[in-house]
Assembly symmetry: C2
Homo-oligomer: 208 residues x 2
Amino acid sequence: MRYHKVPDETIRRLPVYLRGLCSFPNDGSRSISSQQLAEVLHVKSPQVRKDLSYFGDIGTPGVGYDIQKLKKHIRTILRLNNTHCAALIGYGNLGAALLKYTGFKTFCVEISAVFEINPRKIGRVVQKIKIEDVSNISSLRKRGISVAILAIPALESQDVTDKLIDAGVGGILNFTPSYLSAPTNVKVVNIDIGVSLACLPYYLPVGA
Amino acid sequence: MRYHKVPDETIRRLPVYLRGLCSFPNDGSRSISSQQLAEVLHVKSPQVRKDLSYFGDIGTPGVGYDIQKLKKHIRTILRLNNTHCAALIGYGNLGAALLKYTGFKTFCVEISAVFEINPRKIGRVVQKIKIEDVSNISSLRKRGISVAILAIPALESQDVTDKLIDAGVGGILNFTPSYLSAPTNVKVVNIDIGVSLACLPYYLPVGA
């Protein structure tokens, strides 16, 4: 289900809430106040209440949130109750690191296909996955894979993005430094490592 | 110099503008209108004008911006005119990929020190850099390194962050899924790869 008028920032915080809730012991129906939840999550409690209010009444006034129910609720909102298979495009240094990245497991997202353009890498088995030629991207729709991670050189990024969209991919995590042109029904989330690092010197104290 | 009341979002866009400007040929004093600049950068032109207006009058009404001057100006604002040395903490899969990452070069940021907790990695030379014990982090101040990249397990992240801050580090690019507690004069930029991927299923069409 896609809710209306939910800001991207709220959707972006929900997995953080979910991860925070997962750190609580699974011991039944323990409740947590929005204040306690906010402390654990290092956000302000009105923020938590506002974010969660987009999705109906899940808290009990004066009591708070049932931890297990809230976890389940957030998973349902984010559609993370079942494992989502993702395709990794590019098995360079970053791609290899992403394939071994353990942080996807909390969210039931799993890389189940790897694509490459380099003939020397195609056919190799990495983490039990056989690297495929990018031309196989067209098979994603029938394999039920609708999320992709792009970790390839900038030059090839739009061409591969077009192939992904043609293959029914609706969500792309873009590690390339390129702007990707995509229709409005395809969600692109950019992780621009270079830009993120380049911002830091601005904030240093004068003289540093 | 640190300007007053400049939103983080503006600072975050400046390296993107800079990278876009760097893609233009270096052929003297060619000008570009904010409209053209916006097209290249895939943002709206009022956004470009507003972002740049925080830093004084750099454009000429009716003419636009001098490309070379604007590049220089943005580099000065971001303090990227000279190479900044950064420390990489953690030489796991992601750390190794970041050390080889070529996208930092555009911004004159260079990883010049690598730290590890694993004795089997300490002493190894990678990309011409000798991996040091994390206890050496205390030497960063005298080595003039005030930016760090954190690519270590979540459990160790606050402890290492405290060490970095004690050593005078003022900017941290945090790849761990942890919230890092830091004083207000230390800038932490988070790249949460798991969360970024976990957002995508929400946006998929129903049935995907």
